[in-house]
Symmetry: C2
DNA sequence: CGTCGGGTTGATAACTTTCAAATTTCGTGG
DNA sequence: CCACGAAATTTGAAAGTTATCAACCCGACG
């Protein structure tokens, strides 16, 4: 009987009411804990037969590398997120995963998932929901990079992160801890690091938000939402999941 | 007993060997045919309780609109593709779907899918694989828009389309029919229509490919792959699916 | 201390958009 | 079969955004 919920439990629990049996099943997925150091890839493109993971502590990023060395970060994962679900299905990873901080994650074999789903269809639905939500986020990143200016895009990024972190108890309306460098931001936003720096300065000078020393402080949530054309229903309230 | 395979059957069949019972099940999903005219949205953002569809004839695009009217096309769907799978799961569509040509599609209810999966787990795997492949494509579009130049991005786009169309018998190494306007291309590639036009001219003048009058002609596949930094294994040969 | 990885700033270059206008294509009705 | 209008394509010129290059600063760390 543990008193502290895992981030995954907390996230799924906010969308589906979980029975104690389901809580136990979720808990059991967290056997096989692994630790990883920052900066050393945890998975890379082309690797076959990787397991999936549930991230319980720390941040990672999923990215792709181009021939010429440029990279595009597809998404950051935070506690409660799955890593490499798609790689399991394909038997081959199509992207890299790099721990940004020291990371604790639970290895999940395909069979674990199948067993868990068999024991609770509601859990299966919840996990599928989580996976679809991840896909919706990738789509939103695509829209950001394709059609938002650097400023709008950056604002949107921090708002999305804020919504996600609040969901697992790692952030408030005021702000949150954010261990990213401006280089990583650049690779995620499709910008150069230099330009990210300028955009951050502008956000700061406009009184919208400050990102300094690993901390994001939101000064004016409403104006930020407006600048970013951020959809409030995007992650918070994705409609009734189970009826 | 039909002599011509549906595009979906053809696509799935190229990755999983399907038994005649499975072929029959797939065929049964194509009850409830619907026709749609070009240009009139088939699904739009916020709509609840949409069915999913299997596209059997024509092209559609999935897109999102911004407040200021800009739009980003997330992907085009061609015969054999699913439409709106994610919308079914969320009970709410998070994007719009517009028929680009007159379209024939089969409506698929959630219950149809569940029944089909129950009758054949292999089919379930195949469909999941198709969904993951779609997600992989969105990721690749993200990379394209984030880190490839307009020329590279456009080249990559046409190569991807080529690979997809070949899979359902609608294209050859030489080229394919492509009913897109330069405006749509622009909305998909995150460029302005004017610039798309210039890029197309450059591709033509470099002897790489021609896109004119609804036809794409590939002049130099190898050089195109090189320019686009296109991964040959990307869609053709995604590793052994079922073992 | 000395170095090294961020972060910051200015100057310049490159790429892409925007605006405007001409040209071509294509569907429709005469 | 032709004429007409709407839509799509094409091109030039100018403006705007973002990248690149080059310094410089700063704090962490051996």
């Amino acid at each position: 009987m543990q008193s502290v919920q895992s981030p995954l439990t907390r996230k799924l629990g906010s969308f589906v009411v979980l029975s104690s049996a389901e809580l136990k099943t979720l808990d059991d997925l967290h056997r096989r804990r692994r630790n990883f150091v920052a900066g050393r890839d945890l998975m890379h493109q082309g690797q076959t037969d990787q397991a999936a993971y549930i991230l319980s502590d720390g941040w990672v990023c999923s990215y792709k590398l181009m021939r010429d060395g440029k990279r595009q970060i597809v998404d950051f994962q935070i506690p409660g997120d799955f890593l490499g679900l798609r790689s399991v299905l394909f038997h081959t990873a199509d992207h890299n995963i790099e721990p940004i901080t020291p990371v604790t994650a639970s290895e999940v074999l395909a069979s674990d998932l199948i067993d868990a789903f068999a024991s609770s269809p509601r859990l299966a639905t919840a996990v599928l929901w989580a996976a679809s939500r991840d896909e919706a986020m990738v789509v939103e990143h695509l829209v950001s990079i394709g059609r938002r200016s650097a400023l709008e895009r950056t604002a949107h990024f921090f708002l999305e992160l804020s919504a996600r972190l609040k969901l697992v108890g790692l952030g408030t309306v005021e702000g949150y801890a954010c261990p990213l460098s401006q280089y990583m931001l650049a690779d995620a936003l499709g910008l150069s690091a230099v330009h990210v720096n300028r955009v951050l300065r502008e956000l700061r000078e406009e009184g919208l938000l400050t990102f300094q020393k690993g901390k994001v402080t939101i000064h004016d949530f409403e104006k930020l939402v407006d600048v970013a054309d951020f959809d409030r229903t995007y992650l918070d309230d994705y409609g009734p999941l189970l009826r």
